[in-house]
């Protein structure tokens, strides 16, 4: 998005790659359905039934995923089904879609809380840690599910959530673990083919039972809605959203089939503790059946499975809570529901009213309903929602196929969505055999939604003008001019950073882009981020006024989820040569050396990086440049020379010959021709012999006005065991400082990793 607004533009940070959005979808799917569903499916449909359940659900889910993929590629905007229904059928149906999605996401959250509770309590029972507790297992599970749901509601209220990358790697870990279980099952079956007898009888209770098991496990295939919600944040959404939807459903389906197979062959007939046929033994444990089976399959099976369930259910619980919050917030924002639902906490910037109402649904359903009723309620609501999306894809292609800009269209149109509609209808109807409570709760929710729409929303909803606005990616024109991006974070020090930028940009004849990152909590759609617009605008206006008379300057306010990721994505999108940003000089984040943002920028930025600390309105008579002979030394000397020119300062290249290596800079100086601004006449060299390089630099720095320091480029494995010299100096040096990192290119990156 580019919005021209008094010469300041705003844009959304596209930070999520194909891998991230695929993992987001997969994370929502591998949350509960598979862990609770396998035992119950074996109990209801038998050993062959569980395999067919996941296979048939997978193919129906893929048909719906193709509908989502087509619509998301044409309308890549946060909102998912809510937007599709609005475009296809208008506001009333759109409200119903949002209303259903709110309930479905909230109830899915309840299911994940219950799953976490069931497997945690089960593991504690295995370890005999709950013998002293005066409650039944069922009550313990309900208490744990209540506590974990409340805990995650609080985390969402605070605005904290797992970062995209960490979450993606957790999901990848869970998926690999489940595939590993499947492979172990296959290995066991090959080694001992008699275990295949566990599939006899294949469908002991007949084919119709499949419709029931398909119904309550369908919730395990609902990840594409969360991918559609990422339309505003995905890189190349027209290409990546459809791919992510198709890949995530396919990976989930193959994984489920593999683990279901492993669960059936895990128990051997006649082994100690197994009475009757193995599938009957697994089935008697119902939702705990999968855990009991895996504990027989491999050593530490109980422990590993509990870990996997904990990670899977918690990440899915977090994702569903903010998904439910987002949709209820959107309904309030559009005045479909009372406006107060879109109220945002001043302190934490999260939509706390929407979160509170979503929390009430999550907690009440988790505590009051039995597990299978929770699963069935979530499934039935998602089935209705997907039913609507499949209808929307047909209507939109037929009526607007020539107007929209598609990134993907499905094959066999309209047969696949029609087959999906019919199958989902049959499965939803059959669920009455599994849970009549779900079949009472779901229609009551939908009918109440229709009543609310006619009594309230219809007269209060805001104008439909511009409701579906698609945010296109901005392509930067190719240019030979050197580009500097200045990330202004704090309005108070914006001018200090700009003054140094002015010197560097003048020396390099560079074009300057000012950037202010505004973090937006995950619970608020990025497209609604204009509510946070005023934050930092004063600083960027101040900076712009200073530079605008001297240089062509672009100023951008960019909304992001994570500041470091947002800056990095801006660097890549805008094809920047140098990034300049400020640093307050200390870190409050545990586990980071210079701070969570600066560490990530130094490590991952593909361009030159300059980080300024206390370099405001000062005169620098003498500048210290500690050198270690690495590639950053020349950038440090170049920056020092540019700054020295202003005050006619002296530069001292300080070389500590420590006990490990003797540094000889002369050949490097001669070979280096890239940094044309280095004035070697201004530089004097000082060498010392010292055992402790850091202390030696810190002692020397006391005599200087400014320290310009290149980051140490140790291999990553070294950095785990010892702190880089540059970081140690930066943390302890009290003088004004500039930290630089030169762009090393791909060869440097490979060298460091190797």
């Amino acid at each position: 998005m580019k919005k021209n607004n008094s010469s300041i533009s705003s844009e959304l940070s596209r930070e999520l790659s194909l891998f991230h959005i695929t993992m987001m979808g997969l994370g929502m799917m591998i949350g509960a359905g598979v862990f609770l569903g396998i035992g119950n499916s074996i109990y209801i449909a038998g050993p062959g039934g569980v395999l067919l359940t996941f296979t048939l659900n997978g193919i129906i889910a893929l048909f719906t995923a193709l509908s989502y993929a087509e619509l998301s590629s044409a309308i890549p905007k946060a909102g998912g089904a809510y937007n599709f229904a609005r475009l296809a059928f208008g506001r009333g149906t759109s409200f119903t879609a949002g209303w259903m999605e709110w309930f479905a996401s909230s109830v899915a959250g309840s299911l994940y809380a219950v799953t976490f509770a069931i497997y945690t309590v089960r593991y504690f029972e295995v370890l005999k840690l709950l013998n002293w507790v005066p409650f039944s297992t069922y009550t313990c599970e309900k208490i744990v599910s209540l506590l974990i749901a409340v805990f995650f509601l609080y985390i969402n209220y605070r605005g904290a959530s797992e970062t995209g990358k960490v979450g993606a790697f957790f999901t990848l870990g869970q998926t690999i673990f489940l595939i590993f279980i499947g492979l172990v099952g296959l290995f066991v079956a090959i080694k001992d083919p008699s275990r295949l007898q566990n599939f006899n009888p294949y469908l002991p209770y007949g084919w119709t039972k499949l419709l029931i098991t398909m119904g309550f496990t369908y919730v395990a295939f609902e990840g594409y809605e969360v991918i559609a919600q990422a339309g505003d944040e995905a890189i190349e959404p027209k290409r990546n959203l459809p791919k992510a939807m198709i890949y995530s459903v396919s990976i989930a389906t193959f994984t489920y089939i593999a683990v279901a197979f492993a669960a059936v062959v895990a128990a051997k007939a006649g082994s100690p503790g197994i009475t009757g046929q193995p599938w009957e033994w697994i089935g008697q444990f119902k939702e705990r059946g999968f855990g009991e089976a895996i504990s027989r399959l491999m050593p530490f099976g109980n422990f590993l499975l509990t870990l996997a369930v904990i990670f899977a259910s918690l990440s899915a619980l977090n994702a569903t809570i903010y998904s439910a919050t987002r949709v209820s917030y959107a309904l309030g924002r559009d005045r479909m529901l009372p406006k107060f639902l879109s109220n945002i906490s001043r302190k934490h910037k999260t939509p706390w009213v929407a979160l509170m109402f979503s929390g009430i649904i999550v907690v009440s359903v988790a505590v009051l309903l039995p597990t299978m009723d929770v699963a069935s309620s979530a499934s039935i609501m998602f089935l209705f929602l997907f039913f609507l999306v499949n209808l929307s894809v047909i209507k939109i292609r037929l009526h607007m196929g020539d107007e929209l800009n598609y990134g993907f269209i499905m094959p066999f149109f309209p047969w696949l969505p029609i087959i999906a509609i019919i199958s989902q209808g049959i499965i939803a109807i059959w669920l009455v055999n599994m849970s009549w409570i779900a079949w009472i709760a779901a229609p009551i929710w939908i009918i109440s939604g229709i009543l609310i729409y006619h009594l309230y929303s219809k007269s209060h909803a805001i104008s439909a003008e511009g409701e579906i606005k698609i945010i296109e990616e901005e392509k930067v024109p190719e240019s030979d001019q050197y580009r500097i991006l200045v990330a202004v974070a704090n309005p108070n020090n914006a001018l200090q950073i700009i003054k140094t930028t002015y010197l560097i940009s003048e020396a390099k004849n560079a074009r300057v882009d000012l950037l202010h990152m505004v973090p937006v909590p995950e619970q608020v759609p990025l497209s609604d981020a204009s509510k946070f617009m005023m934050e930092g605008k004063e600083g960027i206006i101040e900076a712009m006024l200073y530079l605008v008379l001297k240089f062509p300057v672009n100023t951008t306010i960019r909304y992001c989820r994570n500041i470091a990721r947002g800056i990095l994505s801006a660097v890549k999108e805008k094809k920047v040569d140098m990034l300049i940003m400020g640093w307050h000089g200390q870190t409050r984040s545990y586990g980071f050396r210079l701070g969570s943002t600066v560490d990530a920028i130094i490590e991952q930025s593909p361009c030159n990086v300059i980080i300024l600390k206390d370099c405001g309105n000062r005169k620098f008579k003498n500048i210290l440049v500690p050198l270690g002979g690495g590639p950053n030394a020349f950038l440090a000397l170049e920056v020092a020379t540019i700054i020295a020119k202003k005050d006619n300062s002296e530069i001292t290249a300080f070389i500590v010959n420590d006990h490990r290596k003797k540094i000889n800079l002369v050949p490097s100086f001669k070979a280096n021709i890239n940094h044309k601004n280095i004035n070697y006449d201004r530089i004097k060299t000082k060498r010392v012999e010292a055992y402790n390089t850091v202390n030696s630099i810190l002692d020397e720095a006391k005599k200087y006005d400014l320290v310009v320091l290149g980051t140490t480029q140790d291999p990553l494995i070294y950095q785990v065991t010892r702190e880089p010299i540059s970081h140690a100096v930066a943390q302890r040096c009290t003088k004004p400082m500039i930290i630089v990192k030169a762009s090393g290119g791909i060869s440097s990156w490979i060298k460091r990793w190797l």
Partner: protein, 52 residues
């Protein structure tokens, strides 16, 4: 019972084969649309039919 197992396995094989076909078809279509910068559904379908 054997008939159920045979039919069940056959359904699984067919379903998985069809899924794999859809995955590869979709991937190919996405790349084609991106490469040729196609826009409307009509334009995309026309291009794909011409290719056949």
């Amino acid at each position: 019972m054997l008939k159920d197992a045979f039919l069940g396995c056959l359904i699984m094989v067919l379903a998985i084969t069809f899924m794999i076909y859809l995955i590869f078809w979709s991937r190919k279509t996405i790349e084609l649309i991106h490469k040729k910068k196609l826009k409307s559904a009509r334009e995309i379908m026309k291009n794909m039919n011409e290719k056949k």
